[in-house]
Symmetry: C2
Subunit: 191 residues, 2 copies
């Protein structure tokens, strides 16, 4: 249901081709909604049928023509209506937590390795977010009303990643103090 909304919100920010959207879903919008190019093309076709978007074909020399999509008034109404309907909490699906929940099945070193790996991934993403913050939102006081909203989604990402880092540290140090680990931590990860 909500891929359509994510696409419309992206087109609201700026008209794009399917190809451009796919790239934007790989950063920015993609930080809170993920979608592949195949999904995007399929959904664009549907949105056009529903008159939520229109196309403008851009002829290009030496490369495939571009279909540039725009949100219509009808699309905006559709979005506006949706925004007024309360959403429930988004369900989580997290592999790492499934692993952890049954972590006693394997040597603690296996789980520790995975935790350290995830800590690094979250750290990298946090740095990425902070770079965006510095580059695009250096002066919070003077943000346009459009920018405020996008800034707040970024702040959510930063908060989220900081929380992960904090938790990873807690989990790592807790697992390290497990008595069985005095030996196990030195074993190769496959054990």
């Amino acid at each position: 249901m909500a891929l359509s909304h994510a696409i419309l919100v992206a087109l609201l920010e700026s008209p794009s081709s399917g190809y451009d959207l796919a790239k934007r879903f790989d950063g920015s919008v993609g930080f809170f909604w993920d979608a592949s190019h195949q999904q995007i093309y399929r959904e664009l076709a549907k949105l056009e049928q529903a008159h939520h978007i229109t196309v403008e074909t851009i002829e290009q020399a030496g490369r495939p023509n571009k279909k540039n999509y725009f949100i219509t008034e009808r699309g905006k109404v559709f979005l506006t209506d949706w925004m007024a309907v309360p959403s429930s909490l988004s369900p989580l699906k997290d592999d790492l937590l499934v692993k952890l929940f049954g972590g006693y099945l394997v040597n603690p070193a296996v789980i520790l390795k995975e935790l350290r790996h995830h800590r690094k991934l979250h750290q990298t993403r946090l740095v990425e977010y902070q770079a965006i913050e510095e580059r695009f939102f250096p002066d919070v006081e003077t943000l346009s009303s459009t920018a405020v909203y996008q800034y707040l989604t970024l702040r959510n990402g930063i908060q989220f990643e900081q929380g992960w880092l904090k938790w990873c540290d807690e989990a790592i140090s807790t697992l390290q103090t497990l008595p069985s680990l005095a030996i196990a931590d030195d074993l190769p990860p496959s054990c």
Copy 2:
């Protein structure tokens, strides 16, 4: 792919029927992996075919028989192998952030209402988590090695909800200081 893993991890904790699993996926395991009863029944059939689980039918008087599922040695190996393969970050899909990203389309009061609503939902869940913490993990020093892992998943939930609350507060107070809100905040939510 990973619904099977989530079910196996749940069965590892304790053998259950499909019905019981569905209930467990509504709390505990469900806090980090969500699944409906239809998915669970279908996946159980597959897992049985793959010999990752076995059934034991319990005859019951006056109510439908129960199929109690157990994880097999093979199922444990399957889980163990999976735990050693690094996972990537779980992709997010969050309606609220999509709404926020395009929030400038509607009156700020609409978004503020949604933020306050979400703040309440997160607050409720945090309280729920903290109740579990107090009841089942009162003494962190003396946890069994099984319990440590489940405690850490709970701690993740607590961390996560606290992060959301903090961010909601930040977002609400940022939106409240928008100049347009001096008037807009008093309008009915449908505006």
